[in-house]
């Protein structure tokens, strides 16, 4: 298959099998699958032929663990040649267990250590503002357990106070945080000055609606998925 082939949602399981060799797929790798698909299929203004376009939307995958779903979606959307999937994790493969943006065009940041994406996304939002790029939105995907890292809250607090309306945090909540979030994750974002929506993380229409919501304030989409 050529790098520019555009595949469909139904092709993703085959791409995942290509990556991991497994017919059945690890849940942690799949928790983000529908959110990533909806982002790349319906929301993000990105183009594999123009990954440096200054007006593109920025998608920062902060939760770099379990990137199989990310690689599969990137391959389906033509950012990555499908024949590169098979070498996943190998010495000569650009695809590691955590993504490296220097090795894969269209990947905005390298991730793996938790709690780094949102702070960078705040800087990206401020940088776009300073450069007067009015259209570009910034999306950052984090996990509910990733929010244990305090560095996220430094970013959430400042983004809320500064009213960074171009920033959307997508929290994939598979209830994996050991100590949980009493009162809910969305409420925490709202308290810090964000708008927030809770949606079914497998419902493509609901995800699309929540992810295309924009306003004066930063927006958090909490996508609930089964544990």
């Amino acid at each position: 298959m050529a790098a520019t082939t555009t595949l469909d949602y139904d092709d993703l399981p085959a791409l995942l099998t290509e990556l991991t060799g497994d017919e059945k797929h690890d849940r942690s790798a799949l928790s983000t699958l529908d959110v990533l698909w909806v982002l790349y299929d319906r929301v993000l203004r990105v183009d594999p032929r123009a990954t440096d376009d200054p007006e593109r939307d920025r998608f920062l995958l902060s939760k770099g663990h379990g990137p199989a779903a990310y690689y599969a979606v990137l391959a389906a959307k033509g950012f990555l040649a499908v024949d590169r999937l098979a070498g996943f994790g190998g010495f000569d493969s650009p695809l590691g267990y955590h993504p490296d943006h220097l090795l894969i065009p269209g990947v905005e940041i390298s991730s793996g250590s938790l709690g780094h994406g949102l702070p960078i996304a705040v800087g990206t939002s401020l940088g776009l503002e300073a450069r007067r790029r009015e259209r570009a939105r910034v999306f950052c995907l984090v996990g509910d357990a990733e929010l244990d890292e305090g560095s996220n809250w430094e970013a959430v607090q400042l983004a809320g106070r500064l009213g960074l309306g171009r920033l959307t945090a997508v929290v994939v909540d598979n209830h994996s945080s050991t100590y949980h979030w009493p009162g809910g994750i969305a409420a925490r974002f709202e308290l810090e000055g964000w708008s927030a929506a809770r949606v079914d993380g497998r419902d493509h229409e609901a995800l699309e609606r929540a992810l295309t919501t924009t306003g004066e304030r930063p927006h958090a989409v909490v996508a609930e998925v089964e544990r």
């Binding site: 220097l102 709690g115 702070p119 607090q157």
Partner: protein
């Protein structure tokens, strides 16, 4: 004479007006010294965020200058420096103040003798240790024009006159076999005073990474004694010296801040003396080193 810190705020203010790439990222410290400006970003007391924001700004083509006390700009967000800047391969200029013991009265929490060693453990950093406000100006001007990763370590300690030269610069030449003394940044005046009547070649270095190994090799010649005087953790550049003269017989005396919890307050000069980095201490260590005969090779 103006301080490095005051000069930094003047230069940063001017750069904001002159260059639309310039952005300043702060965590409260320095806010009152800089103008309100759309490219001055105070993130509050959030040092991890300070580095993350700088990375995001750099991704968008700005030239972020991150400024705080040395422990808060280097030690607290060290993983952010490693990943958000280094691993992402974006640039920033980190400008610290406080150095090893400028904050003597503030105690250990405000002292960062390990900063140069820490940044030396990450690839791709240029590290400037200016010894005079004019040298700070040269370093900062060059840093603002580039897009790489640069650390500028300011200090309240300063030499009487600047040395405006690149690389290892000989200020006093001894006899051909005399020991080579390398004084880094603000240690220069004390080092010159300590060795004024001794046969030594004294050279100055304000940019310690990359280390000017070629320059040192040229001075050491066929072999001999090397004395390193650094205003931060003792031995920070010892491996650089060892690599530079690995192919010739040499001895090394590496002076610097001792790796101890001193638990004393007082003034910077008290700490300088306690760590043996005043002229008397440097002279004592230097003459003791020379008195110790080299062990004859087997």
């Amino acid at each position: 004479m103006t301080t490095m810190r005051k000069r930094f705020y003047e230069l940063a203010t001017r750069a904001l007006d002159d260059d639309p790439r310039t952005a300043i990222v702060l965590a409260e410290i320095g806010v009152s010294e800089l103008p309100r400006h759309e490219r001055v970003f105070n993130v509050g007391i959030r040092e991890q965020l300070m580095i993350g924001v700088a990375a995001g700004l750099a991704f968008e083509g700005l030239r972020p200058v991150v400024h705080s006390y040395a422990p808060f700009v280097v030690e607290r967000p060290y993983e952010q420096i490693k990943l958000d800047l280094g691993h992402q391969d974006v640039g920033a200029v980190l400008v610290s103040t406080g150095a090893s013991y400028d904050g003597a009265q503030s105690g250990r929490t405000h002292q960062s003798p390990g900063d140069v060693a820490l940044l030396s453990a990450l690839p791709g950093w240029t590290i400037h240790v200016p010894g005079h406000p004019d040298e700070l100006e040269d370093a900062l001007t060059g840093a603002l024009a580039g897009d790489d990763r640069i650390y500028i370590r300011m200090s309240e300690e300063s030499n009487a006159a600047p040395v405006r030269a690149d690389g290892l610069t000989v200020l006093r030449r001894g006899s051909p076999d005399a020991p080579v003394v390398v004084a880094v940044g603000p240690t220069l005046d004390e080092t010159l005073a300590a060795t004024s009547d001794l046969d030594a070649t004294v050279a100055y270095l304000a940019t310690v990474r990359p280390f000017d190994g070629d320059g040192l090799r040229g001075l050491v010649g066929a072999g001999g004694d090397v004395v390193l005087v650094e205003p931060y953790l003792a031995g920070t550049s010892a491996a650089e010296v060892a690599a530079a003269v690995a192919d010739r017989p040499h001895r090394l005396l590496a002076l610097g801040v001792a790796n101890v919890e001193l638990r004393r307050y007082g003034r910077g000069r008290d700490h300088r003396a306690a760590h043996g980095l005043d002229a008397a201490g440097i002279r004592r260590a230097f003459t003791g080193f020379l008195d110790k005969p080299a062990v004859a090779p087997l």
